[in-house]
Symmetry: C2
Subunit: 115 residues, 2 copies
């Protein structure tokens, strides 16, 4: 039951039309087709894209985001969005821990450069 066109999803999510098509090709979102072969998206498409943009800020690649969003069923319920939220949070915290580890290595910098 998709009703939204590429342009509508683009405006609703803040990305360009070419990006919307790109995200569909990459499997971040799915689309039904009209008789004339045009894409029609469900209302959650723009939501998925907004989540994807946040995930990019966390440092996930489009491929990783595909896998993340694959867990989200069509017609997602609040609990489903929550699950996504949790996994994204965990990933961000993992990356924060990696940065702290790098900081520790910097802290032991005497060993990096004892000229």
């Amino acid at each position: 039951m998709g009703t939204l066109t590429v342009g509508e999803v683009a405006r609703g999510s803040g990305v360009s039309g070419s990006a919307v098509r790109f995200y569909e090709r990459q499997g971040l979102i799915t689309a039904a087709r009209t008789g004339g072969n045009q894409r029609r998206f469900d209302a959650d498409a723009a939501c998925r894209i907004r989540v994807a943009r946040v995930a990019q800020r966390v440092g996930l690649t489009v491929n990783e985001i595909r896998d993340l969003l694959a867990a989200l069923p069509s017609g997602p319920q609040p609990a489903d969005w929550q699950g996504l939220h949790d996994r994204l949070t965990a990933e961000a915290e993992r990356r924060i821990r990696d940065l702290h580890a790098a900081l520790d290595d910097i802290g032991s910098g005497r060993r990096l450069c004892d000229l």
Copy 2:
């Protein structure tokens, strides 16, 4: 007064010879040349590369690392390395804050997706 060859710096820093040449091209390290046009590095070259590798873990690009290392004079003193250490630490902490900010945006996810 460089005395180290590409291979020696490579072994001393744990990167490949091609990477050492790449880093010189990018301006992370500098080299004198022999009469036969070969590179000869100072003793601090391997140090600079070790710092660069840590900076990469922090998420800096080679271009940003060039700018970071540009602050390091030739014949650097302990205080110079310390300054680098401080800037790198600050940068890592800035990135950690960005991740926390992304987490906050995830936390307010009700606004991302109020279907």
